[in-house]
Amino acid sequence: MSTEAAPARTTVSYREALTQALREEMERDPAVFIMGEDVGQYEGAFKVTRGLLREFGESRVIDTPISEAGFVGLGVGAAMAGLRPVVELMTVNFAIVAADQIVNNAAKIHYMFGGQVSVPLVLRMPGGAGHQLASQHSHSLEAWFTHIPGLKVCAPATPYDAKGLLKTAIRDDDPVVVLESEGLYAKKGPVGGPDDLVPLGRAAVRREGGDCTVVAVSRMVWVALSAAEELAGQGIECEVIDPRSLRPLDMETLATSVRRTGRAVIVEEGWPECGLGANLAARIYEECFDFLDAPIGRVSAADVPMPYAKNLEQSALPQPRDVAAAVRAVTGKGA
C-alpha cells in the first residue's frame, strides 16, 4: 500500500517531480497547457515550471496578468471546450480571489447542465506556512476545497505522489485541486516513470505500528513520522497514514488501521474549527466507534491568523513534540 513499494526510478525533489509530471503530460497530450502568474519567463514563483517555456513555447506555457478569478475562469471555459488546462495559482492564498470560479463554475458545471460537458481542469497551488509569511500568506485551505462536491482534491506529501497524483489529475475528466506544500518543494525522494500514476482515493501507510494510528496530511506526514521515530524510542509504535487524496477519501485504509490500533491522532496544518481534522475525526468515530479506546487526538494549527514573528509562528504550527504529546495522551503511554 505504501507508494514507496511502487517501482521507483530516480530520486528527485518534490519540485522536480511536479516538473516531470507536467513535462511528460504535455508531451503526451497536446491539449495540456500551463497557465498562471510568472510560470513562463520567470519559471514559477517556486520554479516548478522551470524549463517548460523553452520546451513548449508561449502557446502552451502562458504568463498571466494578476487576475486569478479571470484566468481560473478562462481555464474552466477552455476545459469545457475539451482542453486540459493546468492552472497554477502562485499560492493557495491567491486562490481565494478565484473562489467563485472554482466553487460556482468548475465544481458545478458538469452537474447543473446534466452532464453535457465536463471540466478537465487542474488547479495547482502550494499552501502551508513556516516561512514567516504572516497572516495573508500562510493559509492551508484543504477544508474549504474538500467541502465542495464536484471538486476532487489531493495533497501529495512525497515526490512520488506529487508526480503520480499530478499526472492522474491531468488525465482526470473532472476539476482536480492539487494542494502542494511550500515546505516540501525541496524534499527529495524516489519518483515513478511516465506511466506510474497514483490513483485518487487511495491512502498510503507511511509507517506501520500497532499502538496508535496517526493520520497526517501533506507536510504533516513528515512531522508525524519524526514524532513516530521519537515515540518508537519510548516503546510506542505509531501507524502513520497519509490519505494523499482528500476527495475522494480512502476511509477503508484509515478505518482498518484504527480498528486495529484502537487509537487515533490526526495532524493537519490548517485551523481546527471546521477543518480537515474535524472531518477525519468525525468519519473515523462513525466507522470505528466500537473500536476506539480513547477520544481521537487532534493536532492543528493554533486557531489564530498566522503571526510573522518566527517564535510565534513556530508555536502556532504543529510540531513533532505536539504530535508525540497527543499520541501519549491517547495511548496513555510514555511520559
Binding site: A69, V76, G77, M80, A81, N104, N105, F113, G114, K152
Partner: protein
C-alpha cells in the same frame, strides 16, 4: 468598427429604433430568408416566455424565472449574426439564446418544469440551460461569472487554430463585477476571438444604470484595454445583427476582440418575484412603444419581405410551437430520485461511505 458610437441612444429618451437614423449609411439588409427566420425566432421567444410566466403562476415552474421580453432584438440579432458552431455563453436570462440557437422548445420548457426530458435533465432549470451540441455553453447565475468562461472558449478556439468566435452576453449590472475587467484585459492582451456583448437594459435588478455605473456609456469600459467598441440600438434587430456581424468578422479574421453595448429594455420585472415598482410607468410606456417585434415587422412589411398574412402565420406558428413545448414538458416524467448524485463527476469513484449521495455513478 471604430472606437465610436453608432446608432447612438440619447438617454433617457432614446429615439425609436430605426437603423436609418444611424450616423453611418446602413449596411445592406440581410437576405430575406434570414430575416424571416429572425422574425420567427423573435416571436417564438416572446410567446415562449409569456407562456412560461403563466406556467410559473400555475406553479409548474419553480425557482427564479427571468424573462427577456422586450430584449428579443438583442438576443436574435446576436445569434443570427454568428456561425452555428460559434460558442455562446449567457446569463440566467437565456431562454431566448437557447431557442434562437435552435434548441427544442419542448426540451427547454421541460427543463423549466424540472423534468427528465429537460435539456439539462432537470438539474439546471431556467437559469442554467445548456445545449452543448448547438454550441450554446450555458446560462449562469453568478453575475459576471460566466464572462471568463466565454474568454476561455475563445482561448480554446485560438489554441486549436480554429476560426470559431466566442460571444459572451451579459447585462449592464454585470459590468461592475471585477472579473469582467480581468477578462477584457486578457482577451485584448492575447488577441482572443471573443465578442463581449453587453445587453444594457439599463437596470441591474432595481438599480438604474446611472446609479450603478459612474460612466453610463458602458462601451468605454472596453476602450480602457484598447479594444474596439460600439454602442447600438438594442431594440433594432438589424442594428444588432450588423454590429455582431462586424464584431464576429473582426474576431474571426483579425483575432481582434471587441465589445458591443446594445441599449435595450426589459418589459417585465427583474424576475417573476419582482413587483417592478422602481421603474416608472412613463418610462416603460416609452419603451413599449418601441417593441422590437413591431419595429422589425414594420421594416419587413416596408421592404416587402413579409405580407400581413405572413406575419399572422409567424405569430400563429410561434403559438403552436409553444403549445407543443408545454405538452411535451407536461408529458415528461419527473427526474428519478435515484439519479440525485448522477453527474456530480464525469469519472466518479465508488465511495465506501454514506450511501447514494456519496456514490455518484
Amino acid at each position: 468598427m471604430a472606437k465610436t458610437t453608432r446608432t447612438p441612444e440619447p438617454r433617457p429618451e432614446p429615439a425609436a429604433g430605426d437603423r436609418r437614423r444611424a450616423g453611418s449609411a446602413p449596411p445592406a439588409l440581410p437576405d430575406a430568408d434570414l430575416m424571416r427566420r429572425m422574425f420567427q425566432a423573435m416571436w417564438l421567444i416572446r410567446r415562449f416566455e409569456e407562456r412560461a410566466a403563466e406556467e410559473y403562476m400555475k406553479g409548474h415552474i419553480g425557482g427564479f424565472l427571468h424573462l427577456a421580453i422586450g430584449e428579443e432584438a438583442a438576443v436574435v440579432g446576436t445569434i443570427a449574426a454568428l456561425r452555428d458552431d460559434d460558442p455562446v455563453t449567457s446569463t440566467y436570462r437565456e431562454h431566448g439564446q437557447a431557442l434562437a440557437r435552435g434548441s427544442d422548445p419542448g426540451a427547454v420548457m421541460a427543463e423549466l418544469f424540472g423534468r427528465q426530458g429537460g435539456i439539462c435533465g432537470g438539474r439546471g432549470g431556467s437559469m442554467h440551460l445548456m445545449d452543448a451540441a448547438r454550441h450554446f455553453y450555458g446560462g449562469y447565475g453568478i453575475v459576471g461569472g460566466s464572462i471568463p468562461l466565454g474568454v476561455g472558449l475563445a482561448f480554446a478556439s485560438a489554441y486549436r487554430d480554429e476560426d470559431r468566435v466566442s460571444l459572451t452576453m451579459f447585462g449592464d449590472g454585470a459590468i461592475n463585477q471585477g472579473v469582467v475587467a480581468e477578462s477584457m484585459n486578457m482577451a485584448e492582451l492575447w488577441r482572443l476571438p471573443v465578442v463581449f456583448f453587453c445587453l444594457n437594459n439599463q437596470y441591474g435588478m432595481g438599480t438604474a444604470l446611472e446609479r450603478h455605473s459612474a460612466e453610463p456609456d458602458l462601451f468605454k469600459r472596453a476602450e480602457a484595454y484598447g479594444m474596439p467598441t460600439v454602442q447600438v440600438n438594442g431594440m433594432d434587430v438589424l442594428a444588432v445583427y450588423d454590429a455582431v456581424s462586424e464584431a464576429a468578422r473582426l474576431a474571426r479574421e483579425e483575432r481582434q476582440p471587441s465589445m458591443i453595448e446594445a441599449v435595450a429594455y426589459r418589459y417585465r420585472g427583474h424576475s417573476m418575484s419582482d413587483p417592478d415598482t422602481v421603474r416608472d410607468a412613463d418610462e416603460k410606456q416609452r419603451w413599449q412603444a418601441r417593441d422590437p417585434l413591431l419595429t422589425f415587422e414594420r421594416i419587413l412589411l416596408g421592404e416587402g419581405v413579409l405580407t400581413r398574412e405572413d406575419v399572422a402565420e409567424v405569430v400563429a406558428g410561434a403559438e403552436r410551437a409553444v403549445e407543443e413545448a408545454v405538452a411535451f414538458a407536461e408529458a415528461s416524467p419527473p427526474v428519478p430520485e435515484e439519479e440525485l448524485a448522477r453527474h456530480v463527476y464525469a469519472t466518479p469513484w465508488s465511495d465506501d461511505a454514506r450511501g447514494d449521495a456519496r456514490m455518484p455513478s
